[in-house]
Amino acid sequence: MQIPYIVEERPDTGLNNSKLGIWVFLASEIMLFGGLFSAYVFLRMAAPVGDFAYWGSKLSIPMATFNTIVLISSSVTVIMSWASLKMKDFEKYKMYMGLTLLCAFLFLVVKYFEYTGKFHHGIYPSSSTFMGIYFTLTGLHMLHIIGGMIVMGYFWLPFGNKMWQSDPERFTNRIEVAGLYWHFVDLVWIFLFPILYLL
């Protein structure tokens, strides 16, 4: 027996299963990063005055600004890839999804240079509480980026073509759900950027 509401929407909730599923998952992600943000605030209050600002000034604002723009762009391309599927334009979907993956990759490259730059200057997570929370927060965020890349890469590779041909509507939903996750990763970065780099 088939599980109902995989693709079509349940009349009384107006949702399909995966849409609700991803939002519940994102709710738990909000609490995960929420816990870490709470830790950040708590530690900032516990630290000597000016300690966080001092160590924060060692981070590179230009690199982070560039990365912010990259991540925002990837958010736009991922939603464009979904819109292309809605318009039944698979080629355009491929292009936009490719761009998204490229942006994600670019983000990781910049992050790599940021990390190694810190290590070259002898700065490690143990150097200060700020650096500890910086590496923890950005590291966890990076894991989320990599996770998103794996999922979107899977849909971008030839597996995607097959899914599109066998069940286009379901494939479109999958891209929408992956996109929602990707926007959330972007959203986390939007908060990480000021609290780590600017304050």
């Binding site: 027996m1 109902p4 509401y5 949702l15 519940v24 998952f25 816990g35 516990a46």
Partner: protein, 569 residues
């Protein structure tokens, strides 16, 4: 996704890597019962040490290293792992993983969970977490020994903690996947006609529980990551400046706070208490309605109370932290919320008691366990009140009183309810009833010895005996008058273990030789009883399910029998 069940499945697909919620539920059930037994064994070794300090431990002594006496390091390991295993590997997986998985889709008339593959992933993540926890006993640095609460700074310096944290990450992931699945299943896959207020109370309890898990577990995952960083990358999130350990100042940056861990830990761990108790209440509700042959009293207030309970459980956590130098304003706040949260628990318990009024009760084995749950949970709940008030908590904090309190909630409370659930749904799972005689032989000694184990803990705790003493308090003057209880409690614990033998025999004997039953042996109303026993693989029901009435329509005036199933017009 669940394919139509026509194609042949081999053994591995059918029983090991199955995506059928019933198989996964059973996998969860069997694994968690084994862990419960293992956690119980750890406790018995500790109880031997408490009753007969520094004497050879019988039977398992050869496992404890060179001498067969339980050493303090290992005592601490057993203590930490007893708590971890019982909660995260035993009771929660049994209540949520096993019962939630097996029963919820059946009770809402769904063919499976919403995401069958995710469901399997949840089980296997749990399994890996369990293997890591077990493996930690055999690693050179041993298992964790900083208590199940893993308070820093101790947990940062003690060995074995890293393995514990990695294991916890898997267990948390498993819980998150499982509870997401339960939420989506309940919202999306209810059969036509099964509106929210026609859901059995058990489904409501699982629904609230799933929300607690989804929203409370991630902060602990965050805290676990931070503690992992402290241990592996030598950060100092939980270590204050100038901390001295073993006579030397610790060489870290400092400026962290051990209280941060306590906040993030209890943000999970208090809702976790309700994760333990709500599914149990759900089971008890169903069993009581079925065996009193009348509707559950105050069904709607039960639902509202459990939703309110779930919500409030997020803002009471710091009553575990009254002794951390909290200011009076916040102490007053947490005392107030703690007193408020006792109200919905009392509403639920009261509604169950009133349900018994005027009923012609069938004293079946599941009903006996459900009935025992009521006073036992009552004792557990009422003894919690003094702990929720700052002034009395100062005296009782970290004594055996606390141990007695939460064990009354979880052991004769939740675990009795889970036993009730096993006896109640066994016919649905296997098509055979469990033996009533053996069931009663299981119930009565269990009830007596449970109280034998935990009641004296209140006496010791009120005398001020600390919960973490390796020798049970022999060196303390204030403990001398209550020390004799240690032997009594330990012997009760060993007898309690013996009382589980009829249960084990009952499961195996009834599986193959129990009385064969049709699909509704208890004359129950909820949807799962309209499925065949056992339910159809990958489909549960033979045809489409439609629901026409509320969950507990027993003894409806004018009906031709004393129960009116939800699926019958």
């Amino acid at each position: 996704m669940s394919n139509d069940s026509h194609h042949e499945e081999n053994f591995l697909q059918k029983y090991i890597f199955s995506v059928d919620h019933k198989v996964i539920g059973l996998q969860y059930g069997i694994t968690s019962l084994l862990f419960l037994f293992f956690g119980f064994c750890l406790m018995m070794v500790m109880r031997w040490q408490l009753a007969y300090p520094e004497t050879s431990v019988p039977i398992v002594g050869w496992l404890l290293g060179e001498s067969d006496i339980l050493m303090p390091e290992i005592y601490n390991m057993l203590g930490a792992m007893h708590g971890t295993i019982m909660i995260f590997l035993g009771v929660v997986p049994l209540a949520v993983g096993a019962f939630g998985n097996y029963i919820v889709p059946l009770q809402i008339g769904a063919p499976d969970m919403a995401f069958p593959k995710l469901n399997a992933a949840s089980y296997w993540s749990y399994f890996i977490g369990g293997v890591i926890m077990l493996a930690s006993f055999f690693m050179p640095e041993g298992a964790a020994r900083s208590g199940w609460t893993s308070y820093p700074p101790l947990s940062i310096f003690e060995t074995g903690q890293t393995t514990w944290l990695i294991g916890m990450v898997f267990l948390i992931t498993s819980s998150l996947l499982g509870s997401m699945n339960i939420i989506v299943t309940i919202v999306q896959l209810r059969a036509p006609g099964l509106s929210w207020f026609r859901l059995p109370f058990f489904v409501w309890a699982q629904f609230v529980t799933a929300f607690l898990l989804v929203l409370a577990f991630p902060p602990l995952e965050a805290a676990a990551v931070l503690q992992l960083m402290d241990r592996v990358a030598h950060t100092s999130f939980f270590l204050p400046s100038g901390l001295v350990y073993s006579g030397a100042t610790v060489d870290v940056y400092g400026s962290g706070s051990p209280l941060l861990w306590q906040h993030l830990f209890w943000f999970l761990a208090h809702p976790e208490v309700y994760v333990l108790i709500l599914p149990a209440m759900g089971i008890v509700g169903d069993v009581i309605a079925n065996n009193t042959r009348k509707p559950l009293w105050g069904y709607k207030s039960l639902v509202y109370a459990s939703v309110f309970l779930g919500f409030m459980s997020f803002i009471v956590w710091a009553h575990h932290m009254f002794l951390t130098g909290m200011g009076q304003a916040m102490s007053a706040f947490f005392q107030t919320t703690t007193m408020i949260i006792s109200i919905p628990s009392v509403v639920i318990l009261t509604a169950f008691f009133i349900s018994l009024w005027g009923a012609s009760i069938r004293f079946t084995t599941p009903m006996l366990f459900a009935l025992a749950f009521l006073p036992m949970f009552g004792i557990g709940g009422l003894t919690g009140l003094p702990l929720g008030v700052g002034a009395s908590d100062i005296h009782l904090h970290d004594t055996y009183y606390v141990i007695g309190h939460f064990h009354y909630v979880v052991a004769p409370g939740t675990i009795f309810a889970l036993f009730a659930g096993i006896y109640y749904w066994f016919p649905k799972i296997t098509g055979r009833k469990m033996s009533e005689a053996l069931g009663k032989l299981h119930f009565w000694p269990s009830l007596i010895f449970m109280n034998g184990v935990f009641m004296p803990m209140f006496i010791q705790g009120l005398a001020g005996v600390s919960r973490r003493l390796y020798d049970g308090g022999q060196l303390y003057a204030h403990a001398q008058d209550v020390l004799q209880w240690n032997e009594f409690m330990s012997i009760s614990a060993f007898c309690l273990a013996a009382a589980q033998i009829p249960f084990i025999i009952n499961v195996f004997v009834s599986m193959f030789n129990g009385e064969k039953v049709d699909r509704n042996p208890w004359g129950a109303t909820t949807v799962e009883w309209s499925a065949p026993s056992p339910p159809v693989p990958h489909a549960n029901f033979e045809g489409d399910v439609e629901v026409y009435r509320g969950p507990y329509e027993y003894s409806v005036p004018g009906a031709d029998k004393d129960f009116s199933p939800q699926t019958e017009k």
